[in-house]
């Protein structure tokens, strides 16, 4: 194998690994949008809080990492419920712009609160996970772990959505919310469960991202915009579209970064996004309507 082939393969694999995490990120946001019809602008800030949760539990209070992860997932899930009950539910009948402004306000609130409480230092778990050497490729163990956990998380959500009554109602409500009463479904309850699920996914994402990245009050800016772009690229609220878009985006970033600098990977990805918005404005897997 030539040296370029090895780099290419390594970039492809890293793209897939990144894609898994991006897919997990977009699933939580898509779920909330598809079901409640509200965009959590502050979604990435929930992840930021989850990352801080991991940092404090593991590095400061020395809670075992597995337990810390569970606490973190449940905790951010509860934050999702609080966000819904306190901010979203009173605005459900309001104009979309007001909902956006409200969750946007929460974004600045959380960023500022984190700055005041935790300071602006970059913090990390201090974990040094080994790097896997496959023939001549180097694959980071933390990325493999993140990919595996993201896949497991998505499979669990898939099973929940397809095998349970509540999950079926979550899919149904995204297709026709007005007749849920006729099915005997209390939509408010489904909204709360969906918010818990969306928050829980943000919590899981936080546990995986904190393995690879430092946490600081503005870390949400690194994940938030790309998560929104992926959701829009896949078609907002379209779970399968978001999944595909995440891998397309990740490969563009990874392969673009191989041939030029890493930043060029992002430039490629965003140019692709802008072009696709003209070619397929309803998303990659647009439904024929």
């Amino acid at each position: 194998m030539g040296i370029l082939d090895i780099f290419l393969l390594e970039a492809l694999i890293n793209g897939v690994l990144l894609g898994g995490v991006l897919a997990l990120l977009s699933l939580g946001l898509n779920l909330v949008f598809g079901v409640i019809d509200v965009v959590w602008i502050c979604y990435a800030e929930l992840i930021m809080l989850g990352m801080y949760g991991m940092y404090f539990l593991y590095s400061v209070y020395h809670v075992p990492i597995g337990l810390a992860a569970v606490v973190c997932i449940v905790g951010v899930g509860m934050l999702g419920v609080i966000l819904h009950v306190v901010v979203i539910a009173p605005l459900l009948g309001a104009a979309p712009i007001n909902q956006l402004l409200a969750t946007g306000g929460v974004l600045f609130f959380l960023q500022s609160a984190a700055t005041v409480l935790f300071g602006i230092e970059f913090r990390n778990l201090g974990l040094r996970l080994p790097v896997l050497k496959l023939s001549e490729m180097f694959i980071s163990y933390s990325r493999l772990l993140a990919f595996g956990a993201a896949l497991i998380g998505m499979v669990l959500v898939y099973l929940f959505l397809t095998r349970t009554y509540t999950g079926t109602a979550i899919r149904a409500i995204a297709q026709d919310r007005h007749i849920m009463i006729l099915m005997g479904v209390d939509s408010r309850r489904i909204y709360v469960i969906t918010s818990a699920l969306g928050g829980g996914l943000a919590g899981l994402a936080a546990c995986l991202l904190v393995l690879q990245y430092d946490v600081h009050p503005f870390v949400g800016l690194s994940f938030g915009p790309i998560t929104f772009l992926i959701c829009v690229l896949g078609g907002l609220g379209n779970f399968a579209g978001g999944f595909v878009a995440a891998f397309v985006f990740a490969e563009l970033i990874s392969l673009g970064g191989l041939y030029l600098d890493l930043e060029w990977g992002y430039v490629f990805a965003f140019v692709f996004f802008i072009v696709m918005m003209f070619v397929r404005p309803e998303g990659l897997l647009a439904r024929r309507s």
Partner: protein
């Protein structure tokens, strides 16, 4: 069984129902006929809780529907097949039926209800894995009725079930309503297809511009001059 008294209802500033009183007795099939825009669909929505009346009362077997949270009304035995079917188009037939049986009381007998529905509509069993939105209009209507039957209701509300269907399918549909009735289910059916609906119901009401203008047995209405002139064109 079902009793509406002096119900007024509307949307925002627009009033669609004026002082409507109507009754479905045990063992009956009742029709509501009337022209487009008469308030027939509003009447159905008011019963199933999709909209709330401004005044009046609605009771189902003595239970006050207006004091019941809207999503609990189906639990009292009222299943509504809405206008234009309103299936979940990107879910399979079986998932649609599962949603019809969402109530905890219905979940316990899911298999049993599924057998009843598949017995009535063998076509749905063949199509159980198909996405509901990809089926023909007649099949979708079957699926919508099947979904409503999954909750094991006592009263079935059918809103314009024949709309948009081919004449042959409409015949089958009304045969089916007869069969459902024979199974002991009460039916309240809203239709523009007056001639057909009067063949399957015991009594009917004429609703026009939001109020009841006439009521009587199917035979009486068929014989009535106003109805014959206005709707049957004979």
């Amino acid at each position: 069984m079902l009793e509406l008294r002096s119900v007024c209802a509307g949307y925002g500033g627009f009033q669609a129902l004026f002082d409507v009183s109507l009754e479905v007795r045990r063992g009956e099939a009742v029709g509501v006929i009337g022209p487009n825009g008469a308030g027939k669909t509003t009447l159905m929505r008011v019963i199933s809780g999709l909209i709330r009346p401004t005044t009046g009362s609605i009771a189902m077997e003595g239970a006050d529907l207006l004091a019941t949270p809207a999503h609990r009304i189906v639990g009292l035995g009222i299943a509504h097949v809405p206008e234009s079917r309103r299936l979940f188009p990107r879910m399979t037939v079986e998932d649609n039926l599962k949603m019809g049986g969402f109530l905890p009381s219905a979940r316990a007998k899911y298999r049993e209800r599924l057998d009843v529905v598949y017995g009535l509509f063998p076509r749905l069993r063949e199509r159980s894995r198909q996405l509901a939105g990809t089926m023909s209009g007649g099949e979708q209507q079957m699926c919508a009725i099947g979904r409503a039957l999954m909750s094991d209701p006592k009263l079935l509300l059918l809103d314009e079930p024949s709309a948009g269907l081919a004449p042959v399918i409409v015949e089958q549909l009304f045969d089916l309503v007869k069969r459902i009735r024979a199974g002991g289910l009460n039916v309240l059916i809203v239709e523009q297809n007056v001639q057909q609906v009067l063949r399957v119901v015991d009594r009917a009401y004429l609703l026009k511009a939001g109020s009841i203008r006439a009521a009587g047995t199917a035979a009486e209405l068929l014989a009535s001059e106003t109805i014959r002139e206005a709707y049957l064109g004979v």
